[in-house]
């Protein structure tokens, strides 16, 4: 009679070794991630505490009430909310179509596309710091000469917000000129060729073939854009350090300056924790809603073998299928 016990033990030993290998491999990064999540939970508890008589004590919703009151009374907070909404929606409405336009040109390898891509990518790599500081010097020194009608400088008062907003959009092409054309290059060329042979014009090709193809990349950026809706600092700290005009504030910068103030202590940490929690409470459901909408109304790959997919209620298939 064969001894099956030994065979089972060998198999179990092999499986056990695999498990050890897998869990040991992931252990260190996951432990650090768990620590980070514990700090996040700690942030939640911090938000309900404040310094009372020199000690950190439970104060209930006091920090939240203070933050809500400051939304109307503190110009930095009220501008933070307005500017965050303007920055985000303006960027989505203005920037996204322009990214697609530029990406299409590069993807099609049109005249000079390689050279244009090389040049446009350069600020991302050469030095982001250098670009911002050059921009700042240009706005401070040269712009007043060219725009004598301005009552305030480009980096003063309310103008500071629009200037930094313009800068964020303008410099974002440096990254996106790399990402979207690469995503388009990953689309099966046979799909594009098939559309062309069927008589699709450029717009139809873009809408029915390219856009569904780069949809995962696009939706990733839209979703992560929503997650940073209220936390994006933009270029404020680089241009102004701690002295940005109140009219240009956003929540990310506001929280940063509150915490990094040399006199900041547990009271400021607790207050900014409350603001972070409020931001998360608003942003999380929005992010989940956006994700669901993008998934439900985006193209679905019906059958990978025939490369069929559904987009805006219509079904498309590869010509050969």
């Amino acid at each position: 009679m064969k001894d099956n016990t030994k065979k089972i033990s060998a198999f179990q030993k092999k499986t056990f070794k695999k498990y050890i290998f897998v869990y040991v491999l992931m252990a260190y990064p996951l432990i650090l991630w768990i620590i980070s999540q514990c700090l996040t939970v700690s942030t939640v508890f911090y938000a309900f505490r404040s310094v009372v008589d020199g000690e950190l004590k439970w104060v209930g919703l006091q920090n939240f009430v203070k933050a809500i009151k400051n939304l109307s009374s503190d110009p930095m907070m009220s501008y933070s909310f307005k500017n965050a909404m303007l920055m985000f929606w303006g960027s989505m409405v203005i920037s996204m179509p322009l990214y697609m336009l530029g990406a299409y040109y590069v993807y099609k390898k049109a005249f000079g596309a390689k050279v244009l891509q090389f040049v446009i990518m350069s600020p991302m790599i050469i030095s982001g710091m250098l670009t911002i500081l050059l921009f700042k010097r240009f706005c401070d020194d040269v712009a007043p000469m060219w725009l004598p009608g301005l009552t305030e400088g480009l980096l003063e008062g309310r103008n500071a917000f629009f200037t930094t907003w313009f800068y964020s959009i303008w410099i974002s092409f440096a990254t996106n000129i790399l990402v979207y054309p690469n995503a388009m290059n990953a689309i099966d060329p046979e799909l594009v060729e098939s559309a062309k042979l069927d008589g699709a014009n450029a717009l139809q090709e873009f809408w029915h073939v390219l856009l569904p193809g780069i949809y995962p990349t696009l939706s990733t950026f839209v979703i992560t854009g929503f997650t940073t809706l209220f936390t994006n600092q933009g270029a404020l700290f680089t241009i102004f350090m701690y002295k940005a005009p109140a009219e240009s504030y956003n929540f990310g910068y506001y929280i940063f300056t509150q915490v990094m103030d040399p006199n900041a202590g547990p009271a400021q940490y607790a207050y900014t924790s409350a603001i972070s929690m409020m931001i998360a409470a608003v942003t999380f459901p929005v992010v989940m809603l956006v994700k669901n909408l993008l998934e439900n109304y985006g193209p679905t790959e019906e059958d990978k073998g025939t490369r069929k997919f559904r987009w805006m209620g219509k079904e498309y298939a590869n010509r050969e299928a």
Partner: protein, 299 residues
């Protein structure tokens, strides 16, 4: 045998119009970037008076002393409990290199060590980990900066280079998705063949799977390196005693007003400190262009 040439598809009028509009738009962006850098470079060679008279034109006379004048002011001086410490350009360059190199390697290794088993092995918690990775990216909430600072000061990793590096090994993020997709795309038959030859899981990972994923590793590394090289916020917040070149550049620009330095000297200093990154870009831009793509968040 007659070989037919492929039928050339004529461009429609709408396509030509779109190409023209897109081309002009990209040209405008490119020209604006080049103009800003050209303005900066040209003004490095002007005297303060020449700059005051004409801020946008060519220099009347090319002056090179701006570069030597600003060299004395680029070094960063900090008051510490031990006294005044001066960080010269070589030391700031060293700090930048160490910071960017080590953290880039960790930024690749951390997600790779999690993405590889999740992509290639079946184990308890595999799907949970992938879900956590997605949730982690979607949650607009992380530890508050103040809370993190308190924790790291308590732990002793604040303003401690080794401590900072040890705590900077991410598990999830964009790179996890990229690497997960990359490992999923590598056939397991290579590993099966190696297993038959007696290779261990560790050997399969290090000698077969990771080398095959190397192009993705390089792409992530280059992008992280470029980002970390330009990052001055992290050293400002977490490693104030290890200022990098970008931080030095930033402080140099800020203090130029108090030193009554003219814009030409400031610009000369900025370009001097940006030189290493310019060389880096010229030699690595083709790595960046190939194969960088962001995956979707479905799941």
């Amino acid at each position: 045998m007659r070989i037919e040439k492929p039928k050339k598809i004529k461009k429609s009028v709408s396509e030509i119009i779109i190409y023209i509009i897109a081309g002009l738009f990209l040209l405008t962006i490119a020209v604006s970037y080049v103009s800003l850098f050209a303005w900066g470079i040209l003004n490095c060679f002007k005297s303060v008076l020449d700059y005051a008279v004409d801020m946008v034109g060519f220099p009347d006379k090319f002056i090179f002393t701006n570069f030597s004048d600003c060299l004395a002011n680029i070094p960063l001086k900090k008051i510490t409990p031990a006294g005044e410490v001066t960080y010269g350009v070589p030391l700031m360059l060293y700090n930048s290199l160490v910071f960017a190199l080590v953290r880039s390697v960790l930024a690749v290794l951390g997600p790779a060590l999690v993405a590889y088993p999740v992509a290639k092995y079946n184990f308890k918690g595999k799907h949970l980990l992938f879900t956590l990775a997605l949730v982690d990216m979607l949650l607009p909430f992380g530890p508050n900066l103040g809370v993190s600072l308190s924790f790291h000061k308590w732990l002793g990793t604040y303003d401690n280079r080794l401590g900072n590096f040890m705590m900077a090994v991410p598990a999830f993020g964009f790179d996890f998705l990229l690497l997960h997709a990359c490992f999923k795309g590598i056939s397991w038959s290579y590993a099966e063949a190696a297993t038959i030859d007696g290779a261990s899981d560790f050997k399969i990972m290090t000698q077969i799977m990771f080398p095959m994923a190397f192009p993705t590793f390089v792409t992530i590394f280059m992008l992280k390196f470029a980002g970390l090289w330009n990052d001055y916020m992290t050293p400002v917040v977490w490693l104030p005693s290890y200022p990098t070149l970008m931080y030095g550049m930033y402080v140099f620009e800020q203090k130029s007003k108090t030193l009554f330095m003219g814009t030409p000297q400031v610009l000369a200093g900025l370009f001097l400190t940006a030189l290493p990154t310019m060389f880096l870009y010229v030699f690595t831009q083709r790595f960046l262009k190939s194969g960088f793509m962001v995956g979707g968040l479905k799941g």
